[in-house]
Subunit: 79 residues, 2 copies
């Protein structure tokens, strides 16, 4: 099975890379940019064959390694 | 308007962060993971009101700053 995990900063948490991108774009003359948000998308190949088991496993991966729950939230999709 | 830009490594280019994630997951006992791919997703808020103009502008941003054409490819969606 495949899992897609989207990890993004929680509302209100400053993402320094997004700020740097926005600033650099304006510096290059792209002054119509009024906001930048960044999400990390991970696509995992899994040996699991059961959808619910795969989702539970991926949520465990997020909690243990992939996301920092203090500042990030994540969404999991299994296909 | 909003633009979504998905930037990923070209086929055949090694992504060191994806390799590190896969290795760490296995190290934590998640041994059903057989592959990891990573995509950077940027959501841009734009002052443009014309769809085609916005897309052209975002492609220019990708070529000039957001993506490294040697190793990365990108997709742009305007909404």
């Amino acid at each position: 099975m495949k899992a897609r995990v989207a990890i993004s900063y929680r509302e209100g948490v400053l993402d320094p890379e997004a700020v740097a991108i926005e600033r650099s774009l304006r510096g290059l003359g792209f002054d119509t940019v009024t906001g930048v948000r960044r999400t990390k998308l991970l696509e995992l190949d899994l040996a699991e064959t059961d959808r619910a088991a795969a989702e539970a496993r991926v949520r465990e991966m997020c909690d243990k390694l992939l996301a920092n729950p203090v500042i990030e939230s994540y969404r999991v999709e299994i296909s």
